[in-house]
Symmetry: C4
Subunit: 371 residues, 4 copies
């Protein structure tokens, strides 16, 4: 294989390099994987309507998340258990993020602890993705460790009261390899993750059922605020109604996400859902998107619809699997470069200019209705 020049190339490389059960775990989605392909395909249902003859010799790619500036509007979404992709795991990822000056969202289920991550990349913008455990004390301790280490926000995952049905994981009896562990919870007894009973098949699903709180509800946000002063972003909102409800709870942000199509198959593609959420929120909190972002024009579309930043999950894993930190860094550099190119070709010199344009991104149906 020649050197990768696109996210797609990294994906192909990862497919070759990873053991099948790891590839399956990383790449697959829930049930029929309809939303999985829709997340990507939906981007191609929108059209760019560029300005021309605008001076684009100087462009500013910067944005910010929760008040912290980022160099360009692509951050890293939380993905569990990165050491399965490469021995350097989360450390490689956070260092790549640090070097590119964008944000890193760490998974609750990282194979590296919040302490080790902070030590490796103290200058990185770090956020903690949070699953709330039935055992609230465990939850509290994790949140407060992160806060003390300088994490700057909580991304509370709201789409996972239980784990989605992923046929391939069930088939593979997927479980975390025994030499790895969820480092944030060394104290907890996690044998569930390494053993699989015959009935259910997926070790991860069993762990979630055993440990994660399926009774999580809106009132728990208030509780979360009592244990931390970090800003709270809800990760996994996919409808305008829920966004409105979130605004009532005074959250700092909403990450429009369907968990990379791994939870409930059949939900809308995130780029399809984004607009109604931006409209519902009406500027009262920040909005981001993840799901299916694979090149610079995908970023343009989400930003044009009102997102402050997008997050990428799998592309980071593909880069990591290819060659560790360098791969992740190159994935980010390519996306930066492609976003810059696309922004210039849209005739815009900044995110603000893109967002203030009228009808710069439209659905394909725009062209029939204009008859």
């Amino acid at each position: 294989m020649s050197a990768p020049v696109s996210v797609k190339d990294y994906e192909n490389s990862a497919r070759e390099k990873l053991p099948k059960s790891v590839w399956d775990y990383y790449s697959s989605g829930a049930n029929n994987e309809q939303t999985l392909s829709d997340n990507c395909n939906a981007f191609s249902r929108y059209r760019l309507r560029p300005h021309v003859l605008n001076d684009v010799s100087k462009v500013n790619l910067g944005s910010s998340v929760l008040g912290t500036p980022i160099d360009f509007p692509v951050c890293i979404a939380s993905t569990a258990m990165n050491k399965m992709a490469h021995p350097t795991g989360e450390i490689a990822v956070v260092k790549a993020a640090e070097s590119m000056k964008i944000g890193y969202m760490q998974s609750t289920w990282a194979t590296t602890s919040v302490e080790d991550i902070t030590a490796a990349a103290p200058g990185a913008i770090r956020w903690l993705q949070l699953y709330i455990y039935k055992n609230r004390e465990v939850t509290k301790q994790l949140v407060q460790r992160a806060e003390r280490l300088g994490y700057q926000g909580i991304f509370l995952t709201v789409d996972t009261p239980i784990l989605g049905k992923r046929y391939k994981d069930v088939k593979n009896n997927f479980s975390l390899p025994s030499h790895l562990s969820l480092e944030n919870f060394k104290a907890l007894d996690l044998k569930e993750l390494h053993t699989v009973d015959g009935e259910n098949g997926s070790g991860l699903a069993q762990m979630v059922a055993a440990l994660i709180d399926p009774s999580l509800q809106w009132s728990d946000i208030a509780w979360l605020k009592t244990i931390t002063s970090m800003p709270i972003v809800l990760k996994g909102i996919i409808t305008g109604e829920m966004a409105k409800r979130a605004v009532k709870e005074n959250v700092a942000g909403i990450l429009v996400s369907n968990h990379g199509a791994r939870q409930l198959d059949g939900v809308p593609a995130t780029i399809d859902a984004l607009r109604e959420i931006v409209q519902a929120v009406d500027g009262k909190c920040e909005v981001y998107l993840d799901g299916g972002v694979r090149n610079g024009t995908d970023v343009i579309k989400a930003i044009a619809f009102g997102a402050k930043a997008v997050f990428i999950g799998r592309p980071v894993l593909w880069g990591l699997a290819h060659n560790g930190q360098e791969g992740v860094r190159h994935v980010l550099k390519m996306l930066r470069e492609e976003f810059k190119t696309a922004l210039q070709l849209m005739g815009c010199t900044s995110i603000e200019e893109l967002q203030s344009g009228v009808n710069m991104v439209v659905p394909q149906s725009y062209f029939n209705s204009s008859l």
Copy 2:
């Protein structure tokens, strides 16, 4: 082949295990099989819009059909001649239904009699699917035998005055293997089913033409009521107009069905037709759906649109072909599990909650129109 983890896996197994002519008979649809694929594909044209942060630690999956509670809203649709799939035939199926506490609809053309089925699974919820014979005395006797045996309802098939054109059956000169018989009619001379004349090709089509009454009409429902006090459901309604007409006859329910796409190719997918029927019926009788249901999110969609339950035909045959009662049971268990998972991920604790939500299931076009 590894152990099946989805209905699709069972289908693949059945394709391998069954003789070609049986597989063809079970799997095929009328003419070009356009509606056959549409029945499944149509589900993927709808999108789920879940609630989040609702306490889903306890969920109630129960529903009811004709007043009888069922453990979860998936019942078994009538399919003819189950002993071709597995020697245990209908007995295996009804026992699986009994053990899962959902309803079993027996085909008029079962290879097991109503008496034997009742003896094997006396605790099962049993309904009789009815074809009305030209010989009304034959019809009357069957209905009354079923009623005496504790059957709780009649599903009168209204989409089969004659049999649909199924090219594969014609090609295969399909007929019931000579060692099997339609056990409900031992008295009748059914040589038609075992012999095929060169012209027409399908033995089943010839039997229908010989025995079934193509003059069946609305007024016959009144006649049916004179011979039984069981509630009557019309199976095979696919338009709002016909649903309105059915309500006038005071039927107890409507099963929105296109006979698994085996009768008239080109009719709408059942999930596409469901909404207009629910609207037309306006609560005046129960509404169910069958056709193309293959996983838990399909069930969610039908229930959200107002069905009290869905029925499955082919998935049962695939389970039966794989390994008899155990296969059928596992198919049902998977659907129960998937429905439960999907309900929780929709943020609902019961069917009532799902049905009272607004816009929780929408067509994909919803997202373009929201521009």
Copy 3:
């Protein structure tokens, strides 16, 4: 290959039996063949909404064309040079039509003369498809020969002032085999048809350019009426505007046709265009359809939209290539049978009942708009 049970089977058989250049000539369409596939695919964009519980024990399949009763509403469209498909050529076709009591439209470019056809099947309903020659005397003689022989109508082809671009014929340097001739014009010097110059490639295209009148215009219909008293049908109308114009000329009928997608690639599928034409004509003349009709439900759709009959082109050639008259007859019998089955399953006992129903055939979009 097993015995054919569908038009598709006959098509597959013909593909195997015919020399490549003949298969290409018969099967191909203009340019990219977009309309060719659309003609068939468009049928599958419509949905049938059947009535149920109507007594369909007795059905009347009959219709009429230009006042002449036909046994069922499928007639034979003119296709040139049938002896390339089978030595019995047009004779086999007209005899099959005669035996099935439906109408036969003979091509101007038949490889059998009007006289021989009439002698072979004096009881057949015969119409003459007409190309108007630059030499009007030639035209006049042909029309008057046909009229004297008892032909009952003229189908004037209006979509062929010049021949469409068919890449395969150009590639094959297609021309009529030298042992065959266009029997209606023995007197004419037709060396053009047998020889091909290097530039243009298609012998047929050159013949059309040499002989057929590209200046044909609306006023010529009046001229045609001066030379014959047979009713005139315009073959090749595909828009409502042209249909309205045709009505002004007092034509007896309109055949909605795009010449089997062989003339102008990119025109609408005929079933898509039919409705606007029926609306435009508003009962002032008869309307028929040809193009892409391949099974009984296609016939249902065209009839439900207001056609009095449909015509088939290629299916006849496939039957002819398979085994002469018997093949054509079987194709017709299958379509009769399939149309009957579909009519009964629509809950209708006649064409009138089908046409007086409301929304019995609708586009797929009907189901989304009903939300």
Copy 4:
């Protein structure tokens, strides 16, 4: 391979004949090549609604561009570096254009100088496609050389402040073969084009970044007018808003183009965008289209929507690669022939007649809305 009879055939021939990196450079588009396929596919979303029975024995195919008559409305779009396709390069192309009496737009980056082109085909209609260099003196000299040589217009490319991302060129480290040079700029140091640094990959992208002015803006049109009196056409407008803005600058024409989908992936297909631009311009300047034109009906569609002419890029390269001038000429002849055929089959004798018709070209959705 048999002799080519369509543009598609020439494309297949070129794919075989050209070195991979040249084929990739010529054929590829930006990023995912979504717009690349859309440019062609979009044409097939429109339907032709022909007139019939109009005398089409005499047709006038002529149009004009910037006041200069052309024999038929297909001209040659600028494509860089034609000598890679065939040693005769741009000379072969301009001679073919001259012989067919249509216009030739020369690329700034031709491998033949404006002087040599003029010498080879003094009778050809020549326009200069212009990239504006950071070094305005270079730009000025080129423009004025062209004007002195009798060039009749400037096509100022406005969609290329920087080069689009083309994965294949990056992968191939694409650069101009060392024996060729951009002949219009012999004076300039163009080592950039022949060497590629490891980071970026595409030599062309590096040259553009080094030499072309990304600060180009609306006010530069006024500057351009100070150095030439040739009419100015903006090449690369794809929205109505930009077209309106262009009209304000009193440009002579707009070429609706997305640079053959090589700049910003995700922009609309040109035929989709054309209508809104024609509407916006409202007759105040000429409008042309390029992108995806591959046969005569594509031309019909663009002309019917208001274009005065279409331009072709890749088809010329395919013809050139096949056999030099003869290939280009044959491509043009085929398109002329196909356009003529299509015009006649539309029932029109001239472009004016086509453009004055109502609804002669419509989107496919037209047929559903007419229900």
